[in-house]
């Protein structure tokens, strides 16, 4: 009895690249992914080079320029589009005439660091604890769920204020990240737990168990990849959420201290001006929107690239 060594048709081509490199190659060919990546890189670069930017334009993030606004009209910027001019490429803040470009650049530092680290931390906690709860059920689930209930039960903002105002001034951004994460992870963890509950009973998990997978491996290597879609959505949307939380807390006096600029604060302070100086909102809002958009597009494309396997 003879059997052909390769019953399937032979396909030309060399050895397949490792999946990481393959994915990168796929992404590089994707316009959306490249644009998103470029934008994110630009923002990061801008944050790093903020001092350079202010050196070039000659306006620091807190330099008042009362000459650029009309104090008799409540401080509306002179000129069109919120005072956009060669001097102030993105216009000025109403009332005190601070340069928006400089504030955006410096604000990127605070906002992105806080939002990104809080997102990373909540995701980490949420995924790990949520999966363990969903997987073990029984008392582990009980304990984790009760802790989650406990944390979620507090109206988060009230408690963040209470706790943050009691904490020493110390390193505000770090404290903010910690507090936001402590109150933030249960939201994600619950979603993860719910999905884990339904995935645990899938046959492929049983198969992995038969392969000798330890609990940890089952949870993180078999189930986790199947949660990807929800995770991408939740984490990318967490970023604007946390930028907003930071702004809210800062406004309530427990966030980063003024005059440190942050995107969230800029957006919050722009709201009253929506009718008179809409650009004041549009610029930081636009930067934030594009950041989230880029993160989402990138997340989606990476997922698609992994999913596609060889058939992309």
């Amino acid at each position: 009895m003879t059997v052909a060594a390769h019953p399937e048709q032979q396909v030309a081509g060399g050895a397949p690249a490792t999946s990481g490199r393959r994915v990168l190659r796929v992404l590089l060919r994707d316009r959306g992914a490249v644009l998103s990546g470029a934008y994110l890189a630009l923002i990061v670069l801008m944050a790093i080079c903020a001092p350079l930017i202010t050196a070039i334009t000659g306006h620091g993030p807190n330099d008042f320029d009362t000459a650029a606004v009309d104090t008799d009209l409540g401080g509306v910027p002179y000129g069109t589009l919120g005072g956009i001019s060669a001097e102030h490429p993105l216009g000025v803040e109403p009332q005190n005439g601070r340069d928006i470009l400089a504030r955006i650049a410096y604000g990127a530092r605070v906002s992105l660091i806080i939002a990104a680290s809080a997102t990373a931390l909540t995701t980490l906690l949420g995924v790990v604890l949520g999966m363990l709860a969903g997987f073990y059920q029984g008392w582990v689930d009980q304990v984790i769920c009760r802790v989650m209930d406990f944390l979620m039960a507090f109206p988060a903002l009230i408690f963040m204020i209470a706790i943050l105002s009691a904490l020493p001034q110390g390193n505000r951004p770090v404290l903010l990240v910690v507090v936001i994460s402590v109150f933030g992870w249960p939201y994600l963890a619950r979603v993860v737990r719910g999905q884990t509950l339904t995935l645990v009973n899938r046959e492929f998990v049983e198969a992995a168990r038969a392969c000798g997978a330890s609990t940890g491996a089952l949870v993180f290597k078999e189930i986790l990849p199947n949660l990807r879609s929800s995770l991408i959505v939740m984490t990318t949307l967490a970023v604007p959420g946390y930028v907003g939380t930071e702004a809210g807390l800062s406004f309530l006096g427990v966030g980063v201290t003024p005059p440190t600029p942050s995107w969230g604060q800029m957006i919050s302070s722009s709201v009253g001006w929506y009718a008179v100086d809409p650009m004041y909102f549009v610029i930081p809002g636009g930067f934030l929107f594009l950041t989230v958009l880029s993160l989402t597009v990138l997340g989606d494309r990476i997922r698609a690239a992994y999913d596609a396997g060889e058939a992309a």
Binding site: R146, A153, A166, R193, L237
Partner: protein, 331 residues
């Protein structure tokens, strides 16, 4: 598995107790003296002590805490002599700033918050899930891209901005809606509806965006399952195929966050209620924080905690309805 259901009521009570205790500790130890707040501009230390005495703030921590707990079950009295006020059984405390029983304040405001929450929830569920489903089905087309672009935009706009912008456009510029007013449904259904419409939209936007994206992501995953092929092979009406077969598996995460989001909103939609001047629990929370009205803060916290915990219980029960496999005995 059965143990989970049995443990619920006990668990809920324990959580609520801990929330109480923690809130109490936090506000007892960390927060400024509410007596100072009440005392006002020209205030003397003696006067502060006097007020503290009236509020019972001079008593030891546990006396105060258990007094509060006892009030919930047995009611309690405040003040003395002619000033005595009685706060009947489910007593969540008494606000000396508004001179009202907190329970009364909550009961007064809960319907508003519930109206806001329910209306918004209906809206965001319908819009969010429908948009997510549509995007998933039309994945990669302009419909998908537009819907998801909007969803991202929507989730990047703070509630506050959206509320004011909406008001500016719909009320001031286009004049299709009046400025929101506090009217009861029974008095004037049309104005009632018009007044709540904007709060609903504002509140629903953020959630709808999240739900749409989540629905889309999960439905896309489900569409790749073999059983979707079976469903299509049956030649069912497309809406039925989508609703029944593709949506159900995507609903687990939706149900989870919906339980939490909705319960959270019953505890008050702080910003939206404030912007539109709705006298709900959220506005009450905001006011009480600004005025450091501790009994009210305590009550709002407890109320929110109660809804969230109950919401989570419901979600857990829903899981087993959503996915029959969850019912199998776990490993």
């Amino acid at each position: 598995m059965m143990a989970r259901y049995v443990a619920w009521p006990a668990g809920v009570v324990v959580i609520l107790f801990l929330v109480c205790l923690f809130t109490f500790v936090l506000f007892f130890t960390l927060q400024p003296d509410p007596a100072v707040m009440i005392c006002g501009k020209t205030c003397t230390p003696e006067r502060i002590d006097q007020i503290r005495g009236v509020l019972g703030l001079d008593r030891p921590f546990f006396t105060q805490f258990f007094g509060f707990l006892a009030g919930i079950f047995a009611g309690r009295d405040y003040g003395e002599g002619a000033n005595l006020v009685h706060c009947p059984a489910p007593c969540l405390g008494y606000s000396f700033q508004t001179n009202q029983s907190v329970m009364e304040m909550v009961v007064e405001r809960l319907p508003v918050s519930a109206t806001v929450a329910i209306g918004a929830a209906v809206l965001w569920l319908l819009v969010g899930i429908a948009a997510g489903l549509l995007s998933a089905v039309k994945e990669g087309t302009w419909i998908d891209r537009t819907a998801m672009g909007l969803a991202l935009g929507g989730s990047s706009i703070p509630n506050y901005v959206l509320a004011l912008a909406l008001q500016y456009v719909l009320v001031v510029q286009l004049q299709v809606l009046p400025f929101p007013q506090a009217v009861a449904f029974s008095d004037d259904p049309l104005t009632w509806f018009q007044s709540y419409l904007m709060p609903w939209i504002v509140l629903a936007t953020g959630y709808a965006c999240l739900y749409a994206r989540l629905t889309r992501a999960n439905v896309i995953d489900t569409l790749a399952e073999n059983f979707m092929r079976t469903a299509r092979s049956k030649g069912l009406p497309p809406l039925l195929t989508m609703r029944r077969h593709a949506l159900r598996p995507a609903l687990t995460p939706i149900a989870t966050i919906f339980g939490m989001d909705f319960a959270g909103l019953l505890g008050g939609a702080l910003i939206t209620e404030t912007v539109f001047g709705l006298n709900g629990v959220g506005k009450m929370a905001a006011d009480s924080i600004a005025k450091n009205d501790q009994p009210v803060i305590m009550a709002v916290t407890l109320l929110a905690a109660f809804f969230v915990v109950v919401g989570n219980v419901v979600v857990d029960l829903v899981y087993t309805r959503l996915d029959p496999r969850v019912r199998i005995t776990s490993p």
